[in-house]
């Protein structure tokens, strides 16, 4: 055999090309070190696919607004900040995995995010193990700042209990204390109904009855007739999704909306926007609303939002969660003058949000005992014939401090290492 160059087949060239392409995909991670002073990275996990994608997108938009403002003022500790977002698809296992990725691979210094409660709880666990500050933006379930609270975790959105309490008080004052419930027959519905019943009894009202409707019920007439016969002041309808549409439609057909008030639980601008007209009625609570004529800075903030996002949308409570979440982290770091987690946690405890960030009238601060932000509830009535964004009429802005459970009753014991 003579000595000659090894023959190169077409296949080898294709393979080499593929390898080159693959290496180009991986290289950006290496490049960032060459850009002088490294920015501080903040990791955010949120659902950008699936049922909660609209809410996740809103939170991201809010965080990006805060990011631009913070960087315009010189960043954190004199360094620029950078937001690294990851899609958790509202899956708790994937969220925990992405939290590991953000910490180990992207080397973020702080964590934030969550729409689904389960993802908030799973990342809560990861952040605590890694000793990293985690700002929960959405994810309302009580244990995050209750039985499963950790020193590393803070939460912007209100608890399930606060949501119920904020609305219950308003409904009780306005309409009276005889209530009937239609509850979806699964765990979350039961918990919500129990908190409502407890609150109602505490205020001196009575539960006239409670119908458990299986998920996917299409015919609500038997529950509605039972509700009507009991002559309530308020009918609380805790169903969700398509069940909510069906039940509200039938309640309107029966003329029940004219006989007594119908109320629900949490609603959001994103949800209201997607509802058909028939289901757009009753009393609900939001956690923030863009139309607050008497609150300073709100109008300017909405205008600033629309300057950046020109798709005709209005900021929602979720946008504010992302915005307030990142600003809170920045304020905590500035006050601690360090990226040390314990120092930041101590700095955030009791920290009060300034008017241009809280964007609501009441005092808003992180409660030291359970790290829950004391932000307001916005109970009110849905405007049936309203067009986006005029979908809601806020009746009252209830201070969070007034409706939150006392720390001793939340079951939270912060686990700082001494």
């Amino acid at each position: 055999m003579t000595n000659k160059l090894p023959s190169v087949s077409r296949r080898t060239i294709v393979k080499a090309g593929a390898a080159l392409g693959a290496s180009a995909v991986f290289s950006p991670a290496i490049l960032t070190y060459a850009q002088g002073e490294t920015p501080i990275k903040i990791g955010m996990h949120d659902p950008f696919t699936g049922t909660y994608a609209a809410e996740g997108e809103s939170e991201k938009r809010g965080a990006l607004m805060a990011l631009a403002e913070i960087n315009a003022k010189g960043g954190m500790l004199g360094r620029k900040i950078e937001l690294v977002t990851e899609d958790d698809a509202a899956n708790a296992g994937l969220a925990a995995q992405k939290a590991h990725k953000l910490i180990e691979q992207d080397k973020v210094s702080l964590l934030m995010g969550a729409v689904s409660s389960a993802t908030a709880l799973s990342v809560n666990q990861v952040a605590h193990e890694k000793g990293m500050i985690y700002m929960v933006t959405g994810g309302h379930t009580d244990p995050v700042t209750g039985a499963q609270c950790h020193w590393t975790t803070f939460r912007i959105c209100t608890t399930t209990y606060m949501l119920a309490a904020g609305l219950a008080e308003t409904l009780y004052k306005k309409f009276g204390g005889k209530w009937y419930f239609i509850t979806p027959d699964y765990a979350f519905g039961h918990t919500l109904q129990e908190s409502y019943a407890k609150l109602l009894k505490k205020m001196g009202g009575t539960v006239l009855g409670n119908s458990l409707a299986p998920l996917g019920t299409t015919d609500f007439s038997s529950y509605l007739i039972k509700a009507e016969q009991s002559k309530p002041d308020v009918l609380i309808n805790l169903t969700d999704g398509q069940d909510l549409v069906n039940s509200m439609k039938q309640a309107a057909q029966f003329g029940l909306t004219k006989k007594f008030a119908i109320g629900g639980g949490l609603s959001e601008l994103e949800v209201l926007r997607a509802l058909p007209r028939e289901a757009k009625l009753g009393w609900w609570t939001l956690e923030w609303y863009w139309n607050q004529p008497n609150t300073p800075h709100v109008k300017e903030w909405v205008a600033a939002y629309q300057k950046i996002y020109t798709d005709g949308t209005y900021p929602s409570a979720r946008t504010w969660f992302g915005y307030a979440g990142l600003h809170s982290l920045a304020m905590g770091v500035a006050k601690a003058k360090s990226l040390d987690a314990v120092k930041i946690a101590r700095a955030l405890e009791g920290l009060e949000l300034p008017p241009e960030i809280k964007l609501q009238p009441n005092k808003v601060y992180f409660r030291p005992g359970d790290h829950q932000l004391m932000s307001s509830e916005f109970p009110g009535e849905v405007i049936q014939d309203g067009t986006y964004p005029n979908l809601f009429k806020v009746a009252e802005i209830v201070s969070g401090e007034k409706v939150a459970l006392p720390v001793a009753e939340t079951g939270c014991k912060l686990d700082y290492k001494s």
Partner: protein, 312 residues
């Protein structure tokens, strides 16, 4: 000889993974997750690829293992080995007890009844709020360091990976021995020609039951490790979507080959992890990869590689 070199190379790569994975943009927890899912899918493949039983509810035993381990740590005793043992037994026992319901059915009915049983456990976990944490998932437990007499094995990120690797090795050895035994040969024979085996006087249903139980125990074992990986488990770990993903991973890698599922898991998990960081439409790409592989390599990635080796 080539085979031995290939297997040795795989093991060296697995042992050294905590060093090289971060260099190419991965992280240790991702390596642990790949191995855990590999145990689960290889276990399922004993039933699916080797016996020919299409189980669409395998996540139920994965989730039962996870909840079993989590609840042991949370309510019973702070011991990692005990949690793994109890979780595996709970999930495996459930599969063993339910096997007789499943084994009589064939084809689509087999798939349907496994989905139904899977969703049964899913709804138990969602609705039994006080014990399982309902939709929020089970949290509030953490893996405990392991004591061997005076020695302490601290379960940090890297050491936990080695625990998973040990589990993977044991599971692979067990499955390999089963598939090399007369029992394993009977499984394959049932897949190839069930009627003929029946005519030979073999009680086919009992063997399907055995395959179902073995798959159940091994998947449950993977589930316990999955609960310990993030110290968290949720009803999504029992949902039929995860069961379907298991089947997709096996088909991607090649369901006729022993290590096929491992390749499928690597493709699926890494693609999910990497693509979902870049684009919100990552599911589209996973779907495209799946369609391409089914069209171009109906025997899976490893199936096609194995055939090329044979041809040469």
């Amino acid at each position: 000889m080539n085979r031995i070199i290939a297997i040795a190379a795989i093991w060296v790569a697995l042992v050294a993974l905590p060093w090289w994975l971060p260099l190419i943009g991965g992280y240790t927890a991702l390596g642990s997750k790949v191995l855990i899912y590999a145990i689960a899918t290889m276990g399922l493949n004993v039933l699916l690829g080797f016996t020919g039983g299409l189980s669409f509810g395998q996540a139920a035993y994965f989730g039962l293992g996870a909840y079993g381990a989590g609840m042991t740590l949370k309510y019973l005793a702070p011991s990692t080995p005990l949690a793994i043992l109890i979780g595996t037994l709970v999930g495996g026992a459930a599969a063993t007890l339910l096997g007789p319901l499943v084994m009589r059915r064939r084809g689509i009915y087999f798939a349907m009844i496994t989905i139904a049983i899977g969703q049964l456990f899913y709804f138990i976990m969602v609705r039994w709020n006080e014990v399982t944490g309902g939709e929020d998932g089970l949290a509030g437990f953490s893996r405990q360091d392991i004591h061997f007499g005076p020695w302490l094995y601290r379960l940090d990120e890297t050491n936990f990976y080695y625990l998973v690797l040990l589990g993977f090795t044991v599971a692979v050895a067990v499955m390999w021995m089963v598939l090399q035994s007369p029992l394993g040969h009977t499984f394959v024979a049932i897949r190839e020609n069930r009627r003929r085996i029946e005519f030979l006087g073999v009680r086919v249903e009992r063997y399907i039951w055995a395959a179902f139980a073995i798959a159940g125990f091994i998947t449950a074992f993977a589930g316990t490790l999955n609960a310990l990986l993030f110290n968290f488990t949720s009803p999504q770990d029992l949902h039929w979507i995860l069961s379907g993903n298991f089947v997709i991973m096996i088909v991607l890698g090649g369901m006729r080959s022993f290590f096929g599922p491992l390749i499928g898991v690597i493709i699926f998990v890494v693609a999910q992890d990497y693509l979902s960081s870049i684009t919100g439409n990552w599911m589209t790409f996973i779907g495209m990869i799946f369609v391409l592989i089914v069209l171009l390599f109906p025997r899976g990635v490893l199936g096609i590689l194995a055939r090329r080796v044979e041809v040469r």
